[in-house]
Symmetry: C2
Subunit: 336 residues, 2 copies
């Protein structure tokens, strides 16, 4: 496997947090090699503290610019050609890296990735996909925010790509695809979802029809398709609610001497329940449909979560995701 | 207070569940009187089991039809003039009831409510609003699904109505209004949210700008404004995640003898944490902007939750919600 290119400069944290995540990812995966793209002196200082076995698998790549979190996508393409984000994606394009990972600005990352890597034949727009915990295991959901809108045809393509990932990465023989709507009846929703519903029903995919927000978790569907606006709102809503529930539990288990005792006794059980739901475990959403793998880490991801995003990228590379999607989308194009 | 008109026939449950909810609401609130709208024989049979004190405050109103959960809104208006849903809303229009409550099909309820009650001056479309648990108490969120789309001007109106509810029903002096988007930076989102952002910024409301899905719960904002498609998806996503977390906790606390013991000890603490988050407590979303109060209960609401929806309607009546909204929207109209 070629090394992965890691943008250590972009995101809500200091670069050292992402460098620490890279270090953790290398420690977790002995086959992994990384190109750490960032400010040279910073990289030099951070890497100085690493032991030789990890240090040998991490090569610094200099970048003189950073794409800020509020940078406009077009400006990022035009003016940030020597940014860590751009260089990481360029390395994929040049065949020097097998995937790029960044916790930076989603809009800029999407724009640069489209500009440099181009979409695959049969794909109009790439989508961001992630696995989410569900009653039956995992649900794949896309688009989580690469685009602010989607046409019916793009939603159909998202369904096709989601099916490939559920099948080839997660091993489901015939993944069930649902289209997110505000009611399960065929008459519901606006004209875009209605038109996408018709396209998906005729697509040859195992399309089960409209699903609602609670079906992301119900286990009744393996892939949930939606536009990037709705998908991103749903994702952030989950994060917010999970944080609220965790905070309420902590507060109640700290509200009295008895509650603290009960909390101490219940802690291992609560930890196990939380482990399967920890958003950090699911960090690292793949941008799919491009001529190369780009993984978007949550901007607020800490080192643990950033390491997981790097792991997601490595998994996608090992599963040869780009080739699978390219073949399937070409076959679909030829068939239609 | 005039009685409330309760549609006991519509929703995912049998009518007896909604009748039981009505009974519970009457027991909880000694001032409450209800008109129970439904199939006469069914109502007679159910009411026969009630004690006299509650029975005296519940008057059956016959309806020969039911709006089904997949009925098209236009068909419901045209063909279901003697339905329990329509009659409940007619009773409000005729001044015989102070509010209508239904767990039926949201699309049909919205259409009939607009057709019969009309929107208030200065309001183009009614919106469904509900209080949701948040770090600081409650966040009001609208639209939760009355409309599948919203124009920028409609989103501005939703903000104005949400502000009135947060102020006049929930007592906040200057509620902070946020517009749901997929990034907090001013450049993010599609053209509808961009245009609504400009209108809200110029509205004189305490508008704090774009917020993301996690801000529904963060306490950084008191009112979250969005279109009915996005709002409904977010709401159902919350319900699904809460159910998944509850199921995981139950499974872990039943996974071994130690876990069951820990669960027994921790139960009162877990119950307290859950109580503040129980979606049944927040059941009953007001349709605001109409010439009368209509409360939408969750279709899957059980008796406990349906009673809560009736309580929400009673609160809105007591707070004279329609008058407050009418005055404020007229003042806005006059000012613009």
């Amino acid at each position: 496997m070629l090394p992965l290119a890691i943008d250590v400069m972009s995101g809500d944290h200091e670069p050292r947090e992402y460098v620490a995540g890279a270090q953790r990812a290398l420690a977790d995966d002995a086959q992994l090699r990384l190109l750490l793209v960032g400010e040279p002196k910073l990289l030099e200082a951070e890497l100085a503290g690493w032991g030789a076995p990890l240090r040998e698998r991490a090569q610094p790549v200099p970048a003189s610019q950073v794409v800020s979190m509020d940078e406009k996508p077009r400006e990022a393409i035009r003016r940030k050609k020597d940014s860590s984000m751009r260089i990481a994606i360029d390395l994929v394009h040049e065949g020097r890296a097998s995937a790029a990972v960044s916790a930076g600005n989603t809009g800029a990352l999407t724009a640069i990735a489209h500009f440099v890597l181009r979409t695959l034949p049969g794909v109009e727009r790439a989508a961001i996909i992630s696995a989410l915990p569900a009653a039956h295991g995992l649900t794949q959901m896309l688009d989580l925010g690469a685009n602010t809108k989607a046409t019916p045809e793009q939603l159909r393509q998202f369904g096709a790509m989601g099916a490939i990932i559920a099948r080839d990465v997660y091993g489901l023989a015939s993944p069930r695809i649902g289209l997110l709507n505000i009611g399960e009846e065929d008459i519901k929703g606006h004209e875009v979802v209605q038109a996408a519903h018709a396209l998906l029903a005729a697509s040859g995919l195992n399309y089960v029809g409209f699903v609602e927000g609670d079906d992301i978790f119900s286990g009744d569907v393996d892939v949930v398709v939606t536009d990037g606006f709705t998908g991103n709102v749903a994702l952030k809503t989950m994060e917010g609610l999970a944080a609220l529930i965790a905070a309420r539990l902590r507060a109640e288990f700290d509200s009295s001497a008895f509650a603290r005792l009960a909390g101490a006794i219940a802690r291992p059980v609560l930890r196990r329940a939380a482990a399967g739901l920890d958003p950090r475990r699911y960090n690292g959403a793949c941008m799919v449909g491009l001529g190369g793998i780009v993984v978007k880490s949550h901007g607020r991801a800490d080192g643990v979560a950033f390491a997981r995003a790097i792991g997601t990228a490595a998994l996608a590379v090992r599963q040869d995701l780009t080739k699978h999607i390219a073949q399937a989308m070409q076959a679909q194009g030829a068939g239609s």
